[in-house]
């Protein structure tokens, strides 16, 4: 029963993706079908056409196992061995430097902004 419910909920999510693909093909939009499906499901939840319990378990499962679905794509780099051997180290160095710089800058900036806002609202509470 538990498994059946999970499969059914995943099937609903697959249905929303297929719907998104159809809409994308019909209107020839640049947005991928999965995003159209995401927006459609969000609106269905918001307008209460679909209840949260009907999709919650399936969605939690797919999001929890997200890493599994990336693996085949990542294995695809095996086709680019030459490139990896030539530029791999530089690529890695670039990713480390740019990602860490971005995290420091973004973390620092948003933390100060949020801390100041919190302090502001606390004072408002006291007066």
């Amino acid at each position: 029963m538990k498994w059946f419910r999970l499969l059914l909920q995943v099937a609903i999510l697959i249905g929303f993706h297929q719907l998104g693909e159809m809409v994308q093909r019909f209107f020839e939009w640049l947005i991928p079908g999965s995003v159209i499906g995401l927006v459609a499901l969000f609106l269905c939840l918001k307008w209460e056409w679909i209840r949260l319990e009907w999709v919650e378990v399936g969605a939690a499962f797919l999001i929890a196992e997200l890493m599994l679905f990336f693996i085949p794509a990542a294995v695809g780099v095996v086709q680019y061995q030459e490139l990896i051997l030539q530029n791999g180290l530089y690529l890695l160095a670039f990713i480390v430097i740019s990602t860490v710089t971005l995290m420091v800058a973004l973390g620092w900036w948003s933390d100060r902004l949020e801390a100041r806002r919190n302090r502001g609202s606390n004072q408002d509470g006291r007066t």
Binding site: L38, A59, L66, L68, I71, Q79, M103, D111
Partner: protein, 228 residues
């Protein structure tokens, strides 16, 4: 052969996930160790990638409904988005521009070929979107996917040191910095830090990805108009 690819992938994933939950060491992270071991198998047994790809098509397909599934955290935590909206949106926009500009500068400095340069551009966007963007602008899908995964691992790995060094305290800042820079894997890390951190991170990740769909082609067009 085809069934074997699927079994191998599932088996390694379950094993790596179990190890990762026990040890919490980044090198047991399923997205790192599984592709490496599978690549090893393909090379040793001389199995062409196309054979493996065919066998695991269904797994790759599930990325699509998994993207749809992000409607649920967005729906459940819509209030959080309203509360933090301004900081999040400006952080996402500036962060995305930073990633695009540094990628482009790196590609130009290294004289990388056009398809490779275009595969680096979406490295800060979550995998299904990054692959889609790479395909749209003429990059290599699987290279883009690999770079995304490396970016996520780097983000998750450096999250704690950065938080300590810069003394980041608010959950909003922790979640935002992980979601914008390190997408899915960073979001996993953010959920280890806390519920709000994880939720902010997953919202930031989805919005960053959605914005990337439009921003990346627009950025490329601007670069071409300015420098060509």
């Amino acid at each position: 052969m085809v069934g074997l690819s699927l079994l191998l992938t599932l088996g390694l994933y379950v094993g790596a996930k179990w190890l990762y939950q026990k040890k919490r060491a980044f090198y047991f992270s399923p997205v790192l160790i599984c592709p490496l071991l599978i690549i090893g198998c393909l090379l040793v047994f001389q199995i062409p990638y196309s054979t493996y790809q065919k066998g695991t098509e269904f797994l790759s397909y599930l990325l699509q409904p998994a993207t749809v599934a992000f409607a649920i955290p967005m729906y459940k935590y819509w209030g959080l988005l309203k509360k933090y909206g301004m900081v999040m949106m400006s952080g996402i926009l500036l962060g995305s521009l930073f990633s695009l500009i540094t990628s482009q500068l790196f590609a130009v400095a290294m004289h990388l070929s056009e398809p490779i340069a275009k595969s680096i551009l979406p490295h800060y966007v979550t995998t299904p979107f990054a692959m889609y963007i790479a395909k749209q602008i003429g990059g290599i899908e699987s290279l883009a996917a690999a770079l995304v995964i490396i970016t996520g691992l780097v983000g998750a790995l450096f999250a704690q040191p950065v938080i300590r060094m810069v003394r980041i305290k608010t959950p909003l800042a922790k979640g935002l910095m992980l979601g914008v820079s390190a997408h899915g894997i960073g979001t996993g890390k953010a959920f280890e830090l806390g519920e709000v951190e994880g939720t902010v991170s997953s919202l930031a990740m989805i919005i960053t990805a959605g914005l990337g769909l439009f921003l990346t082609p627009f950025f490329l067009a601007t670069v071409h108009a300015l420098f060509k």
